[in-house]
Symmetry: C2
Subunit: 162 residues, 2 copies
């Protein structure tokens, strides 16, 4: 059984802002934020935790829309290319970018217990990684920084995993 995503009926304030922001950015770039792509972005933002591609697909089907895996993966590819979402490689899930507009790799704190994700943007970390790669003559194309652990909220509760 797939994860039960916490999908509210209407997008949160953040989601509305993110969608508006996406509209603006795509318009500026001449990129087409189609109905499908916008809806996928909305689904992602409507969830408190990152979603897998097949969970998104389930929601699209609940919408009454036709669809198969390529449908959602193509939309995700577009959103990734536009820097509107990030993919978390350690979980195979997708989350909305809190700082779209400037393409970046992102740094993520992922809570093992509640699944929520915080996106960091620590330039010192970027700088340090750059120094390390520069010293080795390594050309960077993408950076993946994902930290798995337990968030402050979940630390307050009795541990669920030993």
């Amino acid at each position: 059984m797939r994860q039960a995503a916490d999908l509210s009926c209407s997008p949160s304030i953040d989601a509305q802002q993110a969608l508006a922001r996406a509209e603006t950015l795509c318009q500026q770039r001449g990129a087409r934020l189609t109905d499908l792509r916008r809806r996928v972005l909305e689904i992602i933002w409507s969830s408190a935790t990152p979603l897998g591609a097949y969970t998104i697909l389930d929601v699209l089907r609940d919408d009454g829309r036709q669809g198969a895996p390529p449908t959602v993966y193509r939309a995700l590819d577009f959103l990734l290319a536009q820097g509107l979402i990030h993919r978390l490689a350690s979980l195979n899930v997708f989350t909305g970018c809190r700082r779209p507009g400037s393409h970046h790799s992102g740094q993520f704190l992922i809570c093992r217990d509640c699944g929520r994700v915080s996106e960091l943007s620590n330039p010192v970390i970027d700088e340090l990684l750059r120094a390390e790669t520069d010293a080795r003559g390594f050309e960077v194309l993408a950076r993946i920084v994902e930290i798995l652990g337990r968030c402050p909220d979940c630390l307050k509760e009795p541990t669920r995993h030993g």
Copy 2:
């Protein structure tokens, strides 16, 4: 077709050292480095680039050994638990740890062109990530730092990917 791993007939010097090191560590810990587990570790070290689980399975079958996915995944789980290998989440592959003995998450430079991987161990990066998580009251369980790009050797050659 699966990737053609560069598997030499005999393990390289590094592989021999790694296997000897693994023997010692497991003996000290009372962990059982069985034939299967040792062979999987050897297969991983015998490749110039990280291997996927199913590539390892193919080699096991070439050995004449019976096996199915759980066979190799269980061996990989053991080797991961012992800190003898790392999993690269961005590629779903496994690579030998260059510094076993001290369990760590590792930091990796992955070449897009030749597939080879360098394992860093920059304590400043660890320290910086710790400071960031401490400031947020986030308890760290695992860190994933993977940098995708092009290694110095491949930069010398004409680019293959534009």
